[in-house]
Amino acid sequence: MLSVEGLHVETHGKEILHGVNLSVEAGETHALFGPNGSGKTTLLMAIMGFPRYKITAGRILFKGQDITQASLDERARLGIGMSFQRPPVVRGVKTRDMVRACMGGREDDEAVASLAARLNMGDLMDREINYGFSGGEIKRSELLQLLAQGPDLVLLDEPESGVDLVNIALIGQMINELLQKELKRNRTRSGLIITHTGHILDYVNATRGYVLLNGSVVCQRDAHECLDTIKKNGYEGCVKCLK
């Protein structure tokens, strides 16, 4: 599904990622760990294709196709979708308009309404997107948009941050839906999730985990083992492990 090869990325004239390699097979979900500033968000933004994140070397393959030069909207239409940590407010554009846009012409008002109801989004549908939204509301709105978009590769930037304990189960459930976890086999959708706390891994079954430190992947192993080690020894433990 996704293969990142020797990726170097710079933003604002500074190199952030120094040759990252990872690959996610169809139907798999992987987790990205790492301290603040280690380059996790940069990696997702570069995969998504944001022009501010300039790929200076390496390549990205998606469904076997080299998309390194593809534009942001082309990548979205090819089947990559991302939920943002701090999406911008777009005044006058309502959540409903965004959801419709995500459906790209396959408009289905009933399906949208039932999705919105399940995500407790009913009253947010007619509000301006992200305007005055709480942390939890942003997460739910981002997930609703992704569910409408239905991408094959889902990039999630800290989907659980700012979400209370009651809603985290709901978020987890929606992510599982997004990633077709109800299917026992033949899952086609893949995910790459940034998580600080790992809480989301109680709900979402990620197989592999990566630890990103200073712009390089320093470790990859089973996601839960990865998290346990970090919990026990901190990221310093990962550094020691390297030595």
């Binding site: 909207d73 979205a76 943002f84 999406p87 948009q145």
Partner: protein
């Protein structure tokens, strides 16, 4: 008009002001324009107006073939009133010259909310009055459907001068949709439109004006509103088509406790257009409130977006919001919000912002699969969407569709 006895004093004031330059906006040499035009025949049925004119009128929201969703209709072409009718009890729609003949008391309203000697334009409207509309809701009348009015320039190079009077008697409710337009072939023209609104105790007026002029038309509306206790005035103004120059600064005066005024403007200036548009509210009575919202876009023209709220009574509240988008390399938006407080215990605020579309917002939409142009169009549509509190849903829908028709031409 010989029967109309007009006050000599007002005429004298007007004569003295014939050369008085306007305090804002470009001065206009009135000798460039003609004051005469051929007469247009009165039509009992608005559906029988000439096809091309009808098409232009429909664009500004007029329903001429089936007016069942309207409680009254007024159409003036050049100097001639070609149709005026009402279909609901409790509402009057007349040519203003007719109304002056019918009601002596109308003299008490004439030039009461706007000064006759404000400038050369008001003076012209007094000296060479051509016509205009008189719309009145009788006490307690709730006029369900809007009254539609249109002032239209067909004659090349005409200076059209009209004086409109709108009266909402106590406890009444009145909705007006007015569209102004020009024949596409009338290369140039000047429209001088005086409008005076009198909104009595507990009455409510919503006034939606859609301008659809032509690239060589100059427009100088002069409007004033007086609100009594508990009165509500919602005024919406849309001008999105090329226009040579437009300058207006309507003033609403709240003289009764708890009166409420909302002005909303949506302005687009294509290259070659110069718009100087503001709204002013004087909160002169306790507990009165005002909100002024403007959304301006330049695609190459110039916009001066003014706003002024002055509070001189206790417990008044006002908010002013000017937001401007610059969508081309050339083009100017000058936002001038002003607040003036003269007593303690008032609450006035404003926010103004002028800039280009934020790249971050465009990219956010692109990450959902929209192309750059689609994303930009969606942001602009959102920017132009003004949700107007208190506007009946049918009117909100009409305003929305008027904006949508024009915004399609933006891209």
């Amino acid at each position: 008009m010989s029967k109309i006895v007009r006050s000599n004093k007002r005429r004298e004031l007007a004569e003295k002001a014939l050369d008085k330059k306007p305090s804002l906006g470009e001065d206009i040499d009135l000798s460039r324009y003609s004051s005469t035009a051929e007469e247009h025949a009165y039509q009992e049925k608005p559906s029988e107006l000439p096809a091309q004119d009808k098409a232009q009128l429909m664009k500004v929201g007029l329903m001429l073939d089936d007016a069942s969703q309207r409680s009254g209709t007024f159409v003036q072409i050049d100097r001639s009133v070609v149709h005026s009718s009402t279909s609901q009890e409790g509402v009057e729609v007349l040519a203003v010259t007719q109304a002056l003949e019918k009601y002596d008391w109308l003299q008490d309203y004439w030039w009461h909310a706007v000064s006759v000697d404000q400038d050369k334009f008001t003076a012209q409207a007094e000296i060479d009055l051509q016509n205009g509309y008189f719309i009145r809701a009788l006490p307690g009348a709730k006029v369900v459907y809007p009254v539609q009015a249109c002032l239209y320039i067909a004659h090349k190079n005409l200076a059209q001068k009209v004086h409109n009077i709108i009266i909402a008697e106590e406890g009444s409710e009145l909705h007006i949709i007015t569209g102004c337009a020009a024949h596409p072939m009338s290369a140039s023209g000047l429209h001088i439109g005086v409008s005076e609104f009198y909104i009595k105790r507990g009455a409510k007026v919503t006034f939606t004006m859609i301008h659809n002029w032509a690239p060589e038309i100059e427009v100088r509306p002069r409007s004033g509103a007086i609100l009594e206790e508990g009165a509500v005035f919602l005024s919406n103004y849309v001008s999105m088509k090329p226009i040579r120059s437009l300058q207006m600064y309507p003033v609403a005066r709240c003289i009764g406790e708890g009166a409420i005024v909302r002005f909303n403007s949506i302005l687009v200036a294509p290259p070659g257009s110069h718009l100087d548009v503001g709204s002013r509210v004087l909160l002169n009575a306790k507990g009165s409130r005002a909100e002024i919202v403007s959304r301006t876009i330049t695609t190459g023209g110039t916009i001066v977006a003014r706003g002024h709220i002055a509070g001189s009574a206790p417990e008044v509240k006002g908010h002013l919001e000017c937001r401007g988008l610059i969508l081309s390399e050339r083009g100017t938006i000058h936002a001038i919000p002003e607040l003036k407080g003269e007593v303690a215990g008032i609450d006035l605020s404003h926010e103004a912002a002028v800039g280009k579309i934020a790249e971050e917002e465009v990219e956010y939409l692109m990450s959902r699969g929209l192309g750059r142009d689609e994303a930009t169009a969606m942001i602009v549509r959102g920017f132009l969407r003004v949700d107007i509190e208190g506007l009946p849903p049918e009117l909100a829908e009409e305003l929305k569709s008027a904006v949508e028709v024009s915004e399609k031409e933006l891209f």
